[in-house]
């Protein structure tokens, strides 16, 4: 896996800094190194609870929802935007999927419903941002409430139970097929991760995303149709959010309008831990996945060690702080 690829376009774009290849590689690998350090640390704590295969399978499944949504958020954050409505959109999608399945629709139809709902959410966000020229923070703060309310409305404010039709097996930590080491949803997430990392590096969409985030005015002067690109970016992120909503339904086998409150913060944290910068122009797809995995792993270890929730919250909080602090410190050193 050539993870160094993800950040490479930076050096070729206006506003990007030229960096030696080794440093770029280190930057991209940093989240994985951090991950290894944390795993080693937790193993060092007596009574040395092993990280078993089942542990990894479980943590991988717990990564899926935040991970998939965070890949879309990576595009948005690289472009200099933000999306606070992710958690609400996940809840809305999970309810829409549940309602569709309850109507007797099949799994393919449910997938279409999920992607469609997510894409519509993303499209609405982008319309608010480009047409009304609202700052993304404000636009998505508004839709955070709107999508949540919509989810409660169409569900009658109560969880909608529906036949899972095998969707539950996608997110079962120990897969039924014993030759599969990880759950199908995890494979889907990993495949998407590699695919989207390639999109970010090799396609016009990916390179324009970096360009807009690095310096929007320059990007516009270079002839990039910034509003249209933003619509693409938010719709792409919406598709991924829809997929995350489908996974959320699969986890609970019900559409729950109150699920995923605050998940947007986990999603943003995953991107930031993975090397994303909230001022735009920086971020890596695989780093984001490592960030999402790191948070799920911490939850798992804190449970295994019998620590209460507050310990985990304090640790995750500081991991975000440390990750960003190191990043800033390194950026200053590069500038010098």
């Amino acid at each position: 896996m050539n993870t160094g690829a993800a950040l490479a376009p930076l050096s070729r774009l206006p506003g990007g800094r030229a960096s030696p290849g080794r440093r770029v590689l280190l930057t991209a690998l940093a989240p994985f190194l951090g991950l290894l350090v944390v795993i080693a640390l937790f193993y060092a704590i007596p009574p040395h609870p092993w990280v078993s295969l089942l542990d990894l399978q479980t943590v991988a499944v717990h990564t899926v929802i935040v991970g998939i949504a965070a890949m879309g958020m990576t595009f948005i954050i690289i472009s200099g935007g933000i999306d606070l409505s992710v958690g609400s959109a996940i809840a809305l999608t999970s309810v829409a999927v549940a309602l569709a399945l309850k109507q007797g629709w099949g799994v393919p139809a449910a997938v279409v419903v999920a992607l469609g709902t997510g894409a519509l959410c993303g499209f609405y966000n982008s319309v608010l941002i480009t047409l009304l020229r609202l700052p993304p923070f404000i636009a998505t703060l508004g839709t955070l409430g709107f999508y949540r309310g919509l989810a409660k409305w169409i569900s009658g404010s109560m969880p909608v139970s529906a036949p899972a039709q095998g969707l539950g097996l996608w997110v079962r930590p120990a897969p039924v097929q014993e030759w599969l080491p990880l759950a199908p949803a995890v494979w889907l997430m990993l495949a998407l991760g590699v695919f989207l990392a390639a999109v970010l590096r090799y396609t016009i969409l990916g390179r324009y995303t970096f360009a807009i985030g690095s310096n929007e005015a320059t990007a516009r002067l270079c002839g990039i149709r910034v509003p249209r690109m933003k619509v693409y970016i938010y719709v792409l992120a919406g598709l991924l959010t829809g997929l995350a909503g489908l996974m959320q339904f699969a986890r609970l086998t019900q559409g729950d309008p109150t699920v995923a409150i605050g998940v947007e913060l986990d999603v943003i944290a995953a991107v930031v831990i993975g090397g994303g910068s909230l001022s735009g122009g920086q971020g890596s797809m695989l780093g984001t996945l490592a960030g999402a995995f790191l948070m799920a792993f911490l939850r798992n270890r804190c449970t295994v060690l019998g620590w209460p929730n507050f310990v985990q919250e304090m640790i995750v909080g500081h991991i975000i702080i440390i990750a960003v602090a190191i990043d800033q410190w390194r950026a200053r050193r590069v500038e010098r």
């Binding site: 940093a30 190194l33 951090g34 350090v37 944390v38 640390l41 937790f42 704590i45 609870p49 078993s52 089942l54 542990d55 399978q57 479980t58 943590v59 499944v61 717990h62 929802i65 404010s157 109560m158 969880p159 139970s161 539950g168 079962r172 930590p173 120990a174 959320q248 986890r251 609970l252 086998t253 019900q254 729950d256 109150t258 699920v259 995923a260 409150i261 939850r299 798992n300 449970t303 295994v304 060690l305 019998g306 620590w307 209460p308 929730n309 310990v311 304090m314 640790i315 500081h318 991991i319 440390i322 190191i326 410190w329 390194r330």
Partner: protein, 340 residues
Amino acid sequence: MRVWMATCLLLCAVWGCRQQQPPTSGSGATASGEPAATAPAKLKIAVIPKGTSHDFWKSVHAGAVKAARELGNVEVIFRGPEREDDREQQVSVVQNFISSRVDAIVLAPLDDTALLPAVQQATAAKIPVVIIDSGLTGTVGQDFISFAATDNYKGGQLGAQRLGEVLGGQGRVLLLRYQEGSASTVERERGFIEKLAEAPGISLVDPKRHAGPTRATAQEAAENLLTAHSDVQGVFCPNESSTFGMLLALRSRGLAGKVRFVGFDASAGLVEALGQGELDGLVVQNPMHMGYTGVKTAADYLAGKPVPPLQDTGVVLVTKETMGQPEYQELLFPDLTKYP
């Protein structure tokens, strides 16, 4: 370089946490005087409440620790979601305990369907599950080994009976429901409604409004309800947070003590209100016994003993007049410090 920096900082953070490792993780539960060495491999039993912020679950925890102390060879790990409507987090906690191979799980499910897949995964992994407090749609004996809970239907009936008494069999009674999908409170509401229907002079006002997960959401819902139905003479709420929220709403409108009010569950604030006559009765469960029964049942099962599929952990009505009696004092003021 950066890695080292991160290592040091993390080490500090993690080490700091270990230093103050809280009592929840383990009872260290050897019976007094018994050397720990006699029990080399302690049974790890995970107790997963619906939330960690309500007093109710602190009593469940105390009961679990009490059982662990009596049994001697059991370690209790107590962990749950922070918010009482976070089904997703509770599923994750169950799965994390499965992957860490605890010996048994005692679970108070937040939802009767959403938690079923996780419980089935535990059973498939040969980890027995005892369900406490709230029902699960699975089959006892197949998906889980035992169900130990309050007879919630009876609890609702007790509340209706008391309201009928204090109203003298006449009046309009408002019901603030707790939360959809929570099997235990739905049962209480059903018991309440069906018992109340037996009194011909009392009419039920049931706008099917739900209090939501916290005292704050309950307070807001209660304030709205009292505005819309200002002509009620009696009120019933089916759990601690809804009762407390309603109490706050009644107080802010100067109705506390004037409207007849029966609530459910005991917490310090509610017991105080009962003593002041703001509440005409509290239907009280025995959460400590629930936690105790859950852990005891799991340990019995692991020891190969037969376990009963259904267990009633008790429910009583406490009023201002009866609250001084010693058997109720223990329910209203459980000594949690004895079982940290």
